[in-house]
């Protein structure tokens, strides 16, 4: 056991993991976090707490992670490279660990130009790959990036994201391999809609033996509407939404589009359960937290195992 988090135990025990996501509020109201947490509690093994998602200022991810712990959830503390240098990152890791955080997710972060402070200095002192390695060095060697010893090293279960679709596609598996060699323990993928391409990615990763070295959680976001699908297809960088998905949503009865979206997501989850090398699903029901209990139920992942 590297960190002993619930997520790590679930994965170690060979259960099919199910993780969720919670975006901190654009203000200081802790109740907003608690309300969202209620929908996730008992339905997921761990919940990602986003870090200034889409480069918009929100309550800090470590603070929201602590509120999540108090609310009975296990957080997966997200950290982006955009807003902090290596000193701030390491001190936040120490602080988060001291307060009970046991998982973290290392990300580059959306460029500041997208958010509500486009004039900001983007820090990017280190990149997401180097952040993985830093967290691992802190944990396994008990050393800061600068080389000094850490009195009580933070033992975190280290995650990262992976985009299985973006071109150059051939490079995708190599990038995954790089994250593994940097020291990542688990991966959550970008939202998957193009199943064919995803199967190919998984096949290549299996052929290279990568999925024996890392837990891969497949990213799922149910479509709420045709508009959302079209937006994701054309406006969200790195997203691959095949036309069939849009057609299927368009073909749904009036008032049943969101239901069809959930149905598609559940079909995907069924396939992931059988797919070799897939250790679980990461459900990103963004601003749709209240639907998580229903989605989890319909996806057949309840009750969550106790480990």
């Amino acid at each position: 056991m590297k960190a002993g988090s619930n997520l790590e135990k679930i994965l170690e025990a060979g259960h099919f993991a199910f993780t969720g996501e919670l975006g901190p509020p654009r203000g200081s109201n802790a109740d907003e976090v608690r309300e969202k947490a209620e929908f996730l509690k008992g339905n997921v093994d761990s919940v990602n707490i986003t870090d200034n998602q889409t480069a918009m200022v929100r309550m800090s991810s470590w603070a929201a992670s602590i509120i999540a712990i108090q609310a009975g959830l296990e957080p997966n503390y997200q950290m982006v490279c955009r807003d902090r240098n290596r000193l701030a990152m390491q001190s936040d890791i120490l602080g988060a660990y001291a307060l009970g955080v046991r998982n973290m997710l290392c990300l580059s972060g959306d460029h500041q130009q997208f958010g509500d402070h486009p004039q900001a200095l983007g820090v990017f002192d280190i990149d997401s790959m180097q952040l993985i390695n830093m967290a691992k060095t802190m944990r396994d060697e008990g050393k800061f990036l600068g080389g000094a010893d850490i009195e009580e090293p933070p033992k975190l279960f280290i995650g990262a994201a992976s985009n299985p679709f973006a071109e150059p596609f051939d490079w995708r598996v190599h990038r995954l391999a790089k994250k593994i060699s940097a020291g990542v323990d688990f991966i959550q993928t970008q939202c998957i809609y193009n199943m064919e391409k995803f199967r190919e990615f998984v096949k290549r990763a299996n052929d290279m033996g990568l999925l024996e070295k890392v837990y891969l959680l497949a990213g799922v976001t149910p479509m709420k509407s045709v508009g959302m699908a079209k937006y994701m297809k054309s406006k969200v960088p790195g997203m691959d939404v095949p036309d069939e998905i849009i057609k299927r949503l368009q073909g749904a009865e009036k008032g049943k589009v969101a239901d069809e979206g959930i149905k598609i997501a559940c079909e995907q989850i069924e396939e992931f359960k059988e797919l070799k090398g897939i250790a679980g699903v990461h459900l990103m029901a963004i601003e749709w937290e209240h639907m998580v209990p229903e989605i989890a139920e319909r996806a057949g992942v309840l009750p969550r195992p106790e480990v």
Binding site: Q130, K178, S181, Q190
Partner: protein, 221 residues
Amino acid sequence: MIVAKRKPIDEIKDLLKDYKKVLNVGCGTCVAVCLTGGEKEVDVLCAELDMARKMDDNPVDIEGTTIERQCDREYLEALDSKVEGYEAILSMACGAGIQFLAERYPEIPVLPAVDTTFIGVNQGVGWYEERCRSCSSCVLGMTGGVCPVTMCAKGLYNGPCGGTNDGSCEIKKEQPCAWYMIYERLEKQGRLDCIINFKPAQNWENQVPRTLIQPGYEKPE
């Protein structure tokens, strides 16, 4: 070369508003090549300021001169005999030249007429693009001659990020993704092994003012 762009006339006017006798100094090197601060641009700016100040009923006695390089002592000498009697010096050189002038004539206010923008290339007449951030530790050897520090919007050493979009950077469609270019070029050259391994965190060397003394030379006392 160093690329700069001229400041808007109103900003320059504001910097100069309290001075009636001004020397405008151009530079014959980088800023001349990028059509910002050479002899021609000095003349144009002097004429503009002369006219504008007349219209404001606050005439200025402005004279222009251009030296070969404002970042070189040897050429600054030529100015020593000229600056006498001026209330302010306006410099059309890059930030290095402006500071070197200010250092040489500490009694006289030295004011910038340009914004130094980047180290870049000349893509065509009047069209320049950034290429280098002078980080002090060049990785172009492993990245197929594409600088990830300058050309990647996040300065990633282990790219591309998840936002890479069919060859474009996530910041906008017209901006090529540096890591896509790096991949393409290395692939064609059969050198993908250059980027297959994890690149550890950078030791930033550009966080303090840097000094370089070539081997065999010394800093004079």
